[in-house]
């Protein structure tokens, strides 16, 4: 069972890293259909080999009694198929796709390269020229291989990211609970959190990279976790604070020596950070008089509090259940899950701090981002709560105790 669990987890990790490598190729290779197509094929083969390297040859014809257990996969697979229909029903309709992620991808494809002039003249509030380019480049990989731009089924990217994260979650859940039924239930419960409704935007890919990174680091695989963390930081700026949050989480969990092993997380987004600095691409949150804005918001926090309390996060039953789970498993969470909890709290604090420094109307800023920001944090939190509630009483301890 552990071998299959590891294969599943590796499959998800390999898929996430493979997608990131595909996007990075466009920074170094010519945007030719044949060159990129061959490279994608090579990456797919390596990814598949990495994912299947842990499965013994005899496992394909396992005992009949064990085979039915694979049917349990249908439990999370059915809603995921529904998500695939939703995501590919129409081209991405979100404004942020048209004004940011999709616009960049399409403009880059037009010139078969990164359009620095477009980024230079972009309106920061809507096009965010400082945002990392992993997602637009993923869209461009598809366009280059297809040899033409089409957004008809681009939502499939989000389905793949959700599936990859769910593979990581399913593998980890099997390892920790030692129960396929429990793992299927946990994976099913996390489908709506991995399968985000914001098709075309970077939330889904960021949640996949960020959540997988935290779960992988939590269990002690620092190298893979740091790579995933670096890819999260290459997807959204929030990934940069997630690196710091993960490092503080490790420190608080008594894993000081592991902090330095997060270096790939810093190295991966570094080229983009250098280039965007050279091109002087503005970051809206730090433009103008940041200290004046922070002071003003701290002097009178009522507009921020009012805005945060007025935005509905939806899913009331989910939040009630999550809160109840946290209360029931509080002791185990505090003792076993210090890394994840501290990392999530720090990341949450960074989001609130961004609002405090916001140059925009606070009600507008909160209204159009709060639900998405909270969605970044809920999959990892939900996973550790469920594992704490269901898990077989410390059979597979996360590395937090090391």
């Amino acid at each position: 069972m552990t071998v299959h669990a590891e294969a599943r987890r590796r499959g998800g990790e390999s898929l996430l890293i493979g997608i990131g490598v595909c996007a990075a190729m466009l920074a170094v290779l010519p945007w030719s259909r044949w060159v990129i197509g061959a490279a994608v094929l090579l990456i797919a083969v390596v990814t598949f080999a990495a994912a299947t390297s842990v499965v013994p040859p005899a496992s394909a014809a396992g005992p009949p009694a064990a085979r039915w257990r694979h049917l349990l996969l249908a439990i999370p697979l059915i809603p995921l198929l529904g998500y695939a229909l939703y995501a590919t029903l129409a081209p991405p309709p979100e404004f942020d796709y048209l004004a940011d992620w999709g616009l960049k991808a399409r403009a880059f494809f037009e010139i078969r390269g990164i359009d620095w002039q477009l980024l230079g003249r972009a309106i920061p509030r809507d096009t965010h020229p400082d945002y990392p380019l992993l997602l637009p480049l993923i869209y461009d990989v598809i366009a280059v291989v297809r040899n033409g731009w089409s957004d008809a089924h681009l939502g499939i990217v989000h389905v793949v990211f959700a599936a990859a994260l769910l593979l990581v979650i399913h593998g980890a859940a099997i390892e920790e609970t030692r129960s396929r039924i429990a793992a299927a239930f946990i994976t099913f419960a996390l489908v709506p959190l991995a399968a985000t409704p914001w098709i075309g935007m970077a939330e889904g890919p960021f949640i996949a990279y960020g959540t997988a990174a935290l779960l992988v680091i939590r269990r002690g695989d620092l190298t893979i976790g740091a790579i995933l963390l670096g890819l999260a930081a290459s997807t959204k700026n929030e990934g940069l604070t997630l690196i710091a949050a993960a490092a503080i989480g490790l420190l608080c969990a008594g894993r000081k020596r592991d902090v330095i092993r997060l270096w790939p997380a810093v190295a991966i987004p570094m080229p983009w950070l250098i280039v965007r600095s050279l091109y002087d691409l503005p970051t809206d949150i730090v433009t103008g008089s940041v200290f004046d804005r922070v002071a003003a918001h701290l002097r009178d926090p009522r507009p921020l509090i009012a805005a945060l309390s007025s935005v509905s996060l939806g899913k009331p039953l989910f939040w009630i259940a999550l809160a109840a789970g946290i209360v029931i498993a509080a002791r185990m969470l505090v003792t076993r899950e210090r890394f994840i909890l501290v990392a999530l709290v720090i990341q949450f604090g960074c989001y609130v701090a961004a609002y405090v420094a916001s140059p925009y109307d606070i009600a507008w800023h909160v209204t159009y981002s709060w639900e998405r920001l909270v969605a970044h944090l809920t999959p990892a939190l939900t996973y550790v709560v469920l594992v704490s509630l269901i898990g077989p009483r410390g059979v597979s301890q996360p590395a937090a105790q090391s």
Binding site: A90, P91, P93, E94, F95, Y97, L98, A99, G102, L103, R106, A107, F109, E110, I111, Q117, R121, I123, R125, D126, T127, D151
Partner: protein
Amino acid sequence: MALPYQKLPGSRELMLEVRARTKPGDVIAISAPFTKWDQGYRYLYMRALYPLAGRVVVPLIDERDQPHFENLARANVIAAYRCEPRVPGFDVVWRGRDGTLLRRKG
């Protein structure tokens, strides 16, 4: 795909027509019967960028509602939503139900 454009009916179709009648590198000014950025112009301008990718799309109003008619000097094309501006040096080259396309003479 019309959903994100629904508050300005016909704007997507207009931009698709503009795309079909322009080429990469053209500088396109967006004209509309709006005088404020957040009261219509931003909605149209930001949504025009995607279908017109590859062209340089310039606004005639900024985020502070200041007019930027100097961008007309840069533009060789004007895409006008539900209006037909008379701009010296430009001729109407196409008329549709939801707007017009003007091109610099010569």
